[in-house]
Amino acid sequence: MPQVITYREAVAVGLAQEMERDPSVVLIGEDIATAGGVFKATAGLLEKFGPKRVRDTPISEQAILGAAMGAAMTGLRPVAELMFADFVSVCHDLVVNQIAKARYMTNGQISLPLVVRFGNGGGLRFGAQHSQSVEGWLMAVPGLKVVVPSTPADVVGLMAAAVRDEDPVMFLEEKALYPTSGEVPEGEHVDELGTARVRRAGSDASIFALGTMVHRALGAAGQLAAEGIDCEVVDLRSLVPLDVSTVAASVAKTGRVFTVEEGPRLCGWGAELASIVAEECFYDLDAPVRRVTTPHIPLPAADSLEDAAIPSVERVVAVVREGLG
């Protein structure tokens, strides 16, 4: 029987599944062991797997990722937590110059089967330095895989895929989704990186979304259905690799493309998607691509401001309605 768990619990379930299977999987990060993580996403893992495999670190993000990288190139499969995704900025070098490039620069002599976990995104009133969606930064770097699950089942399945992958995977857990729940399959669950999911089939418009925004897109599609507009909602799940075939198939079907992105406007993943669609699906298009994003601003703290910044169900509804009008 499938069980219903939270997105937060799914992180530990996914990690435990892989740790039981493979003794080379080890976890490091600030407060992840005794405290179970600031997001409590690793709660119970220390008790289950012991301090050798679940390890607290100092507040040293470069040292954390360096340790993960050195361990990955010498036989372990480390999973490092960076706590708030915003903190990737203090170890950008490790991510961008070291981890991402090692295989290429060494012509394949070095493999880095590691996962970096991030608490990503806004909606929690944490202000500009604890709310960012960093997928745009990460997808711009050759050599990184970038995954953003939107459901507990995907957290488990994509985590398993990420841990088993031979390449560095940036695993962005959406902070706003931690308390949400959903069914996860019984028994071992392993998904596939680089595969999008059609969450709702439709014929009038394709809405492409990621992470938290998938749920907003689905909410919007529900409202639009009441008006007779039949939207398809595609959960990209992974930006690198990007499932272009599923994207193209959806565009061929609907002819109208909308993106819903939590990140700020410029160079968001939707811009890349729009460019792919323009190059490869131009003759399937019946209207210009429309992007719904956070404005190009740092995220504010106040409820009213943050809610106005991040794409809402209402804003998606309005843009789609206008786009089809």
């Binding site: 360096g66 060494t106 012509n107 070095i110 390449d167 595969t195 499932d243």
Partner: protein
């Protein structure tokens, strides 16, 4: 320098270490010296493009530390890493070829001079963002402990690296986790063009920081392979036996500029002259001869290294340029660069 800093005067004679092994340390220094001189020539001929950072004058550090290591230990170096690559068995031909952008290069031309890597010899790479690889060496050391081996990781870095955050993050984690890692600071007194003393709060950039991480300060004459070897042996043994990390500061000097054709004019003539007089190679040769090693043996070592370098250079020169057909390979584990499906 703090008062309790361990000073290691060059030894009169090496008791524990056999003459043969010390002759090999001489060979190691000569091979690097000749390789580096040739790399410089190739640069002047525009056969080595971009940049390169030579270790001429600093050979005793790589030689002394390498001789203290086992083949399965891990080594991490900087962009000034030709010496360390060669010391870990990277074939000279492939090194020259990499410098010259050839298909037969150590990394098929994808890395270049600053990123020499020879994973087969557990030479886990040369890193060109100052300080980063200290944290990565920790990871290799942690993995060794986790896997229950007694391998040791060594990170070589410059004096300049002691002022970057990664150095301090790495030292603290290594000390806290008691990792089997040896941090070797090659203090050549300069960063690129600025003296380290001008921008550092303490006199010995590494040794004077050791106490902050609960480590004993270790300061050695980096132009003396025996002294380096002795300090490294102690540090490696400590790491191997579960005693945790060490921070070794080896004071040395680069004969040339920071990189490429930098003439190093910012350095006072007297200073350069003083250090040239302490050139580790003739110094070591003289010492070995003084201890009874026959001159013809040492001559032979020099001639062999000369032949090896000449042969390697010619082979590398004859190799075809890196093949653009491989431009997009090895970005991901499936062998290529595709970001889409």
């Amino acid at each position: 320098m703090s008062n309790d800093t361990v000073k290691r005067p060059p030894r009169e004679a090496e008791g524990s270490r056999g003459a043969e092994a010390r002759v090999e340390m001489y060979r190691a220094q000569v091979r690097v010296r000749l390789f580096e001189k040739e790399a410089y020539n190739l640069f002047l001929q525009n056969l080595v493009k971009g940049t390169s950072h030579l270790a001429i004058g600093q050979e005793a550090v790589a030689a002394g530390v390498s001789a203290a290591l086992r083949p399965d230990d891990y080594v991490f170096a900087t962009y000034r890493g030709h010496a360390h690559a060669i010391s870990r068995g990277a074939p000279m031909t492939a090194c020259f070829a990499e410098l010259m952008g050839r298909e037969s290069g150590l990394m098929a031309g994808k890395g270049g001079s600053m990123h020499l890597t020879y994973a087969k010899g557990n030479f886990m790479g040369s890193y060109a963002i100052v300080g980063a690889h200290l944290t990565i060496a920790n990871g290799a050391a942690w993995s060794a402990v986790y896997r229950g081996t007694d391998q040791v990781a060594v990170a070589f870095f410059g004096d300049g690296a002691t002022n970057i955050g990664a150095f301090h993050e790495a030292l603290n984690l290594a000390a806290t986790w008691k990792l089997p890692v040896v941090f070797v600071c090659e203090n050549n007194l300069y960063m690129e063009y600025t003296p380290i003393s001008q921008v550092t709060a303490v006199a010995q950039p590494a040794a004077d920081r050791a106490s902050a991480y609960g480590l004993p300060p270790v300061l050695v004459d980096g132009n003396d392979a025996d002294a380096v070897h002795e300090a490294a042996t102690e540090a490696v043994e400590r790491a191997r036996s579960g005693g945790g990390p060490s921070l070794v500061e080896a004071v040395t000097y680069r004969h040339g500029g920071h990189s490429r054709a930098d003439p190093g004019k910012y350095r006072p003539d007297e200073e350069v002259a003083e250090w040239l007089a302490k050139d580790p190679l003739p110094r070591y040769r003289t010492r070995l001869q003084g201890e009874g090693v026959e001159a013809p043996l040492l001559d032979r070592i020099e001639a062999d290294a000369r032949d090896e370098v000449d042969r390697a250079r010619e082979e590398a020169k004859a190799a075809p340029p890196a093949d653009p057909a491989h431009l997009e390979t090895e970005v991901f584990s499936y062998g290529e660069s595709s970001w889409r499906r």
